[in-house]
């Protein structure tokens, strides 16, 4: 029983960690309709900017946190206005956009290795340890609790934004049909920029929170984005609430699989979920 409880808590933590990039990807996919793999470096940039600011510039963690989120938002936005927006204006196919994104991802990942080295880096300040809470047999650190709380908070606020605000309505209108939204007088390009900024900031936030718990290495970005896409696919492509649920579905499946097979096969379980859903339920669990 105690073991099951521990596994459930572990799955909740992992699910919350997946949920940020999954929601960011899903939000962007709902309007841009292509697999933006370059969200991987955007996700990592949050963590690496945090490292640069706190370790090299010796600034407090809060400034690093803000700088990471703003930096990630700007990186995502720059990629959008320099690559994807012009390609979309030329009427390029999704495949062209995806190949462009693969190019951007490869180049930025290599830049990260040049700047920070390819090895794993910890984001935790060297002087302090996370506070560890113990409830019976369960142990959980303060960062992990914050991650779960922020994940739920972001999910709720995204739902609220989507339902109640003009921004959310405009996003849904573009997701439905960009041409019609344009004809109805919506400045779609401007709105897409805002969505990209928001989702990139969210990805950056995820990068920092994941990094604070697990550390960050340049190879982690691509794995993360593929798992995020898997989560988004499980929930139904382009449904933000689905991505949130999908992230937890994925983490529970992974945790269960690791329980049976052992930790070294974790990656295989995640990617097998991707393949299984692509074959049997490409529309996801929420979409009809």
């Amino acid at each position: 029983m105690a073991l099951v409880l521990q596994l459930v808590v572990a799955a909740l933590i992992t699910g919350a960690q997946y949920s940020f990039l999954a929601m960011a990807f899903s939000l962007q996919y709902s309007v841009l309709k292509f697999f933006n793999l370059s969200l991987a470096p955007v996700f990592m940039s949050g963590a690496y900017i945090f490292i640069a600011v706190t370790r090299f510039l010796k600034m407090p963690a809060l400034i690093g946190f803000c700088a990471g989120i703003i930096g990630a938002a700007l990186l995502g936005w720059l990629l959008h206005i320099c690559i994807y927006e012009p390609l979309r204006k030329r009427g390029s196919s999704n495949m062209t956009l995806l190949v462009g994104a693969i190019g951007a991802m490869t180049a930025l990942q290599a830049f990260t290795i040049i700047g920070f080295g390819s090895e794993y880096q910890s984001l935790q300040p060297a002087t302090s340890q996370w506070h560890v809470f113990e409830f019976g047999s369960i142990t959980i650190t303060s960062v992990q609790i914050v991650t779960i709380a922020v994940s739920i908070l972001i999910f709720l606020s995204l739902m609220l934004i989507s339902r109640k605000t003009l921004f959310g309505k405009a996003t849904r209108a573009i997701a439905d049909d960009e041409e019609v939204a344009k004809i109805m007088g919506l400045n779609t390009n401007k709105h897409l920029n805002k969505v990209v900024l928001l989702s990139s900031a969210l990805a950056g936030l995820g990068g920092i929170l994941v990094g604070l718990d697990l550390g960050m290495s340049p190879g982690y970005g691509l794995t993360s984005i593929i798992l995020a896409i898997t989560a988004a696919l499980i929930g139904g492509m382009g449904i933000t609430s689905g991505a949130f649920l999908g992230a937890f579905f994925l983490s529970f499946a992974e945790t269960a699989g690791v329980g049976f097979l052992g930790g070294e096969w974790k990656a295989i379980i995640g990617f097998s979920m991707l393949i299984l859903f692509l074959i049997f339920k490409p529309q996801g669990i929420l979409k009809q």
């Binding site: 180049a107 794995t223 393949i275």
Partner: protein
């Protein structure tokens, strides 16, 4: 002179990879990033049979091609159901799964340490142990693969592949079972990649899982996109250009690890530039 021989051997191996990927991606329009996995299957099978089985190099290489064909049959029959973006996503999933097996199945593959001590072959009293004879072997096989690829696309089978690329539904209406065609070209392409893998194992004499990652698939994709999609000569031209770029980055005297990353930056940027400037490549016949 030995420098040029080395360069030419690497070029010949990469050119086989590019031609094989071009027959799947360029001619049939299926963008796959799983190619490095089959390259790896070829290399591992050749190396392991050679070292543990004491089998002749060429027999081991044929076994590698056969195994890659069988795995391609399994993976391809799943992938043939996917289209466009989802095809790429599925291929990334399979690449990760196979790479993860190479990394974690320690007892067979040697885990992250890989396989060392691979010997060069001899055939009919001719030894390929020196670099020059081995280069001639690589070039002979490159020419064979070149003619095979040329021949395939000139047959009625090849014309159906191009028709699938242009409009899969339309050609299906004429009674062609497009899934079978997609599957067969996938198997042929992956078999050729396994051949390149065998040559690579024989040439470098040491293999490990880090040679068969997504970065290598992106390199092959960059080769065919720069040279030209759906053009066998284009694949060779693209490989020549990219191998030159690799050498150039080595010659300007940067530290080895920075130069390695700089190359990846260059492939990435090249992919983006090609998407803007010529999505079909320099002498290509098909736009993504």
């Amino acid at each position: 002179m030995s420098y040029l021989i080395n360069l030419a051997s690497i070029f010949a191996i990469y050119a086989i990879l590019a031609i094989s990927m071009n027959s799947i991606t360029g001619y049939t329009g299926l963008v796959t990033l799983a190619h490095a996995a089959f390259y790896g299957i070829g290399a591992y099978t050749t190396a392991l049979l050679l070292i543990h089985g004491g089998v002749n190099f060429f027999v081991a290489m044929l076994a590698g091609i056969f195994l890659a064909g069988v795995v391609a049959l399994l993976i391809g029959s799943v992938m043939s159901k996917f289209r466009g973006d989802y095809y790429i996503l599925g291929s990334i999933g399979f690449l990760y799964i196979i790479n993860s097996i190479m990394k974690n199945w320690d007892s067979v593959t040697g885990g992250p340490l890989g396989v060392a001590g691979i010997t060069r072959p001899a055939l009919f009293g001719v030894s390929f142990a020196e670099n020059l004879p081995f280069l001639l072997l690589c070039l002979t096989l490159l020419i064979l693969v070149y003619w095979l690829a040329k021949w395939i696309v000139s047959t009625p089978f090849g014309r159906v592949l191009k028709a699938i690329r242009e409009d899969e539904e339309a050609i299906a209406v004429f009674g062609y079972r497009t899934k079978h065609f997609k599957l067969l070209i996938f198997m042929i392409g992956c078999g050729m990649a396994a051949l390149a893998g065998g040559l690579f194992a024989g040439y470098i004499r040491y293999i490990d899982p880090s040679t068969f990652t997504i970065v290598d698939s992106v390199f092959m994709l960059a080769c065919i996109i720069v040279g030209g999609l759906a053009n066998v000569r284009g694949a060779i031209l693209g490989t020549a250009i990219l191998v030159m770029i690799i050498e150039f980055s080595r010659l300007i005297g940067l530290p080895a690890d920075v130069a390695a990353q700089l190359r990846e930056v260059i492939y990435g940027v090249l992919l983006i530039v090609m998407m803007f400037w010529r999505p079909q490549g320099l002498i290509g016949e098909y736009k993504l």
